[in-house]
Every structure is written in structure tokens, then in C-alpha cells.
């Protein structure tokens, strides 16, 4: 029961960090390469938020995630 709360904490903190970082990177890029347009900032912030969202979702899904493996079948017994 506690890890739900912990997950949420992680989530929120993670999203905050990522958004801000994205924002910063976007601002940097906008200043450096894109002639102080506004769109890279929004872009960066969105990217950051999106990454945080995805991480959060993955974290919540983790108990239910199934990992499938592809197994190649070798035909050794047909030759005998």
C-alpha cells in the first residue's frame, strides 16, 4: 500500500524535474539556434512532460508488464 504513495511521489517529482529541464533545454536551443522563437521552449517542456508521463505510466504498469521472448526452433531432429 505504501509503494503506491511512493510511486506517486516519484512520479510528481520526476515530472517536475523533467519539465523544468526540458524547458531549460528548449530555451537554450531557442536562444542558440532558433532565433529566440517560442516554439522550442514549448517543445522542450512538452517533451519533458511527455517523458515524465511515460516513465510514470511504466512505473505503475510494472507489476503487470509481461516480457515476451522469441525462441528460435532448431531443426536438428529432422535430419536423423
Amino acid at each position: 500500500m505504501e509503494d503506491s504513495g511512493r510511486k506517486w511521489d516519484r512520479c510528481v517529482s520526476d515530472s517536475a524535474v523533467k519539465t523544468v529541464l526540458g524547458l531549460g533545454v528548449g530555451a537554450l536551443f531557442s536562444v542558440l539556434f532558433f532565433k529566440r522563437r517560442s516554439w522550442p521552449i514549448a517543445f522542450g517542456a512538452g517533451m519533458g512532460l511527455g517523458m515524465a508521463y511515460s516513465n510514470c505510466q511504466h512505473d505503475f504498469k510494472s507489476p503487470y508488464l509481461l516480457h515476451g521472448h522469441m525462441v528460435k526452433v532448431t531443426h536438428t531432429h529432422t535430419q536423423s
Partner: protein, 728 residues
Amino acid sequence: MLRVCWKGANAAARNCLCGKVPVHPLQHCRRYTSAGNSGSAAGKIVAASILTVGGGLGGTILYAKWDPKFRANVEKSVPYSDQLFEMALGPPPPPFIPMQKKPVKAEPLQISSVSEASKDSKQPKAKSKAKEKQPEPAPVDPKPAVEEAPALPPQTIEAEECHECASHEPAVKERPGEEVAARLAQQDKAEQDALAALSFNLEDTLGFSAKLTLQAIGAQEAALTAIGTHTHRLREAMDSEDPPDKKSAQWRELEDALSERTRAVDQAGQSLLQAKEQLEKLRVVINGAKESKIEAARPQILAAEENLHSMIVDLDKVVTKVQAAQTEAKIVSQYSELVNEAKVQFQKELSSITPEVQANWKGLTGKLSADDLNSLIAHAHRRIDQLNRELAEQRVREQIRIEAALEQQKHEHQRAVDSAVDKAIQHNHEQLRLEQEKKMQEVREVMEAEMRTQLRRQAAAHTDHLRDVLKVQEQELREEAQEALSSKMMEQETQHRRLAQEQLDSFTLDMNSAYARLKGMEEAIDSHVVAEEEARKAHQLWLSVEALNYTLKTAAADAPTEPLEGAVRTIKESCAENEFAQALATALPDESLTRGVYSEASLRARFYGVRRLARRVALIDETRNSLYQYFLSYLQSILLFEKEQEAPPTKLAAQDLDTFKLLAYATYSIERGDLELAAKFVNQLHGESRRVAQDWLKEARLTLETKQVVSLLSAYANAVGLGTTQAP
């Protein structure tokens, strides 16, 4: 169909769009031309849709009419279709029920009842031998049997039969044996009298008729002789040439003979008549005797008949003889008449020619002259010629007459032959009948004799059968008596033996009981000792279980109890040889031993937190847990209002497996102190809610287990303690 409609709609729309006005913008086109075309197109669409819908309905109804299963299916799937079907087609066909076979059963019952009734009616009449008689012919049989009884000579059998038949049918008038015998005797006597009277009568008439017949025959014969003499005399008179006085004497004799003859004939006729009358009377009497049907008189009747027949035959013979004689006499008399006539004629002629010559011309030969002689001779010659002519004529006529006479004679002969044949046939017939009667009589006598022998044989067989039956009965009775005797003896013996055995048993019983009491006392003392030991042990067990219980109570608000290891160890020590307690002690979960368990109160407190969290993640299950879902489920938990506590139903239905409901039930149970039920409900959660409540569930399980084991142990200890404590 939908596609067609759709296409049609499309086509219509396209037409309206790209029709006669291509250049105009769409809106205009729609405004100007859609008003015109769309009306008809819409009408077409409406009509098409109505047609299809109607067609579909009609088709469904028709098919449902044909196939009842399809109808049932449609009724199941489409809500109000059964009403529609009922309106259109009438009620659905009922399922097939096999007809009861009651009416068929009724008939055999009736028949059996009838047969039973007939059997029942036959029952009271069931007796010994002659029971093959049916109930219906039985009333008919005794009556002719009784009537024919007089014909049976042995009266004993009659009496017996009548006894039987009397007892057979109470419906028939009952005549006791004596009355029957008296009646039979009476009948016999009456018969004898009748027979005697009849035979007397018969003999009388027979004698009389015989006498008369003989008389008639005699008279006839006398008549015959008279006729014969007369004829003879007549012929003699015709043929003889006697002198006149002898002739006259002859003629006188002839007359006498004639008168004699006539008299005899008359007498014969009279006596014949009398005889015939008497014979008729005799015949009447015989017929009367025949009708009286007395058997014994038969031979007499037969003899009388024979006599009658012979008399008739004789009479007839004699009558024929007389008739023949009469015809002959007639011939002769005719002949004599003719001759007389010729003589008279000649005499007349002669007297006419020679008037002076008188009667007897033979004596006149000397007195006559030559002329007279010549004339006489001439007359004689003429007469001779005439006579010759007449003779010739007569000869010719004779031929014809002879033929006519022959014919007549033939007819008469034929008639006579016929009558004679008839008479002969009649006589033969009569003869044959008499012979047949005689034969019948003989046969009857033979049959009577045989019947008597058979009856005698039957009587003998009956006596034999009776003897056998009596023997068998004797045997049976003897066996019965023997059996009764032996059974009684055995009974007495068994009783005696039983009494002896009882005495022995009671003595043994007393001894055994005394011994058992002694043993019981010893055992009681031993068990007392054992019980004391047991009691001590139980007491110890109980103490240790109490210690365990106490350790359970040491749970703080949020901390678990102390580890239960120590208490469990003491329990194990205290009841080392008690397997049940050992098993229970080992059944405690390890966690409780090492770590201790949480108390119920703490679990209860914790539950509310779990509940809140579970509500929040209610929508999350294994398949969909994106953050958006989390948001949604959080929203749901806020917006969904429901009772916090809800009483759980006795049976959990599928709709109760909703998270919120389950949590409500669990809350209710926990508030009422039923941790087990709450745990059960929490166990039903799915997905994320379940995962969230998992550790709470684990703790609850541990607590419940420990509590269960401890309660078992305490119960056991209590039971053992109760068992071993002794009342003061």
C-alpha cells in the same frame, strides 16, 4: 438491402448534385433542384424501405408458420414478437404429449369383470364329476333329463341325477328324490296301464278285423266258385245239344246258378265292405297307439301293422280274382246271349217261312212235303249264303273289331296294369316300411342293451373312483394327523429345552454379572487413578493455552504481538503425548511464532486506509493502467457516492463483485467484528485494488489463522478438562 438503399440514396444525392445544372455551386444546386427531385427520390426511398420492411416481416411470419423452432427462436430473441406471432398465426403448436391408454384399459377390465362374474356364478355350483355343464344349458338339461328319466331302467342313477340337478339349479323347481321316485313310479304305472289298455284294444280290433277279413275272403271265394259254376253251366248249356226237357232243366239249373252267383257276389261285396271298414278302424287304432309313444307296445303295433297289411293284400288278391272271374262270366254270358239271339232269329225266320212248323223242327222230317223241303232247302241255302256273307262281313268286321277291342283291351290292360302296379307299389312300400320299422325296433333294442352295459360300466367306474378318492383322503387325513402330532411333540420338547436353557442362562448370567462387577470395580479404581493423571495433564494444557491466549492480547495499537514461540513451546512440553495438541501447535504459522500477529483493532484501523486507496484505483486492472486511467479512477472514486457500509447478502451474485460494493461489504463486516468475512470480501478484489490490499490481507490471514488455532486449542483444552473433571 441496406447497401442498396444506401446506394440509392447516394445515387439520388449525386443526381441532385451533378444533374442538369453542373456549374452551379453545391448549395444552389441543392436548393434549386433538390426540392424537385428529392421529393420523388424521398418518396422512392420511403416506398422502398416500406416494401423491404414489410417483405422482411411477412417472410419472417411465413417461415415461422412453417417452422415452429424458428418461431421459438425469434420469440426468445425479439421482445414483443410472440404477441405479433400470436396475432398473425394463432397460438404456438403445443408440444407432443403421448395419449394415456386409459380407454384401452377399460375394455379388458370389463371383459375380465364379465368373466369374473361368470366365474363367480360358476363357483357355488362347483362339485364333483358332472360339472362340465355350462350355466346356460344347465337349466335346459335337467328338464329333459328328468323327462327322459322314465326311459332309463336303473332308478338309482335317475334319483342321483335328479339330486344333482336339483342341487345344481335352485332356479328350477326343486323336487326331492322321493317325490321324483313316486312320480316316476306313478308314471310307470300309468304307462303300464295305458300299454295294457292299448294292447288289449289292439288285439281286440285285430281279432275282429281278422275274423271279418276271413269272412270276406270266404265270401269272395264262395262268390268266385259261384261265378265259376254259373259260367261253366252256361257254357255247358250253350254247347250241349240236349232234348228240351233236359234243356229246361239245364236252364233252371242255370238260373239257380245265376241267382246263387248274384247272391254270393252281393254277400261278398257286403263282407268286403265290412272288412274294409274294420281294417280302417284297425288302422286308426294303430295310429293312435303309435302316437301314444309307449315303447313296449311297439312290437305289438308292428305285428298288428303286419297283419293289417297281409289282410289287405289277401283281400285285394281275392277281389282281383273275383273281378277276373266276373269279366270272364260277362264274356260267356254275352256269348250265350248272342247265341240265344241267333237262335231266336233263326227260329223266327224259320217260322216265317214255314208257319205251320212249330218249335222243334228236328222231329218234323216225315211230315214235310217236297215243296216245303225245297223251300226249306232254298231257305237253308239262302240262309247259308246270307250267313256266309254275314260271316265274311263278320270276319272283316271282326278284324276291325278285334283291333278296336285289342286297343280297348290294351287300354284297359294298361289301366289294370297301372292300378295293379300302383297297388303292388303300395304294398311294397308298406312292406318296406314295416321292415324298416322292424329293423328300427331291433336296432333300438340293441342300443338299449348296449346303453345298459355302458351305464353299468360307468357305475362300476364311479365306484372305483370313489374308492380311490376315499383311499387318498384317508391317506391325507392320516398324514395330517401325524404331522399335527409330531409338531405338537416338537413344540413340547422345544419348550422343555427352552426352560432348561433359561435356567442355565440365568445362572450363568448371575455369575457373569457378579464377576463383571468385580472387574468393574477394579477397573474403576484403576481408571480413577488414570483420570487423576489425565486431569492433571489437562489442567496443565489448559494453563499453557491460557498463557498463549494472554500473549495474543499483548498486541499494541500498531505493533504486533510478542512472538508466540515461548507459549507454544510450553504447550508442546505440557502435552507431549497428545497428538491432536501437537498437530495444532505445529499448525501455527511461522510468522506468528517469530514475529507475532497484529490485533484485530489495528487491522481494523488499517483497513480504512486500504479502503480509501482501493477505491482510488478501482478502475485499474491488469490490462489498462495508463496514467489517464489513474486519473479517471481517481475521479470516479471522488464522484461515486455510495453507502460506506452495506450488509452483505447471503449469496454473492456476479454484480456484487464490483470493487465498491465489495469494500462496502467488507467495511460492514469489519465494523461488526467479522474479520474473516471482511478478508473474504477483500480477497474478491481484482487488479490494482487487490495488489494494494495484498499485505493487509496477508496480515489479516495470519491473525485469523493464529486465532483459529488458538481457539481450537483452548476448546480442546476445555473439552479435555471437562472430560476429566469429576463431579464432587
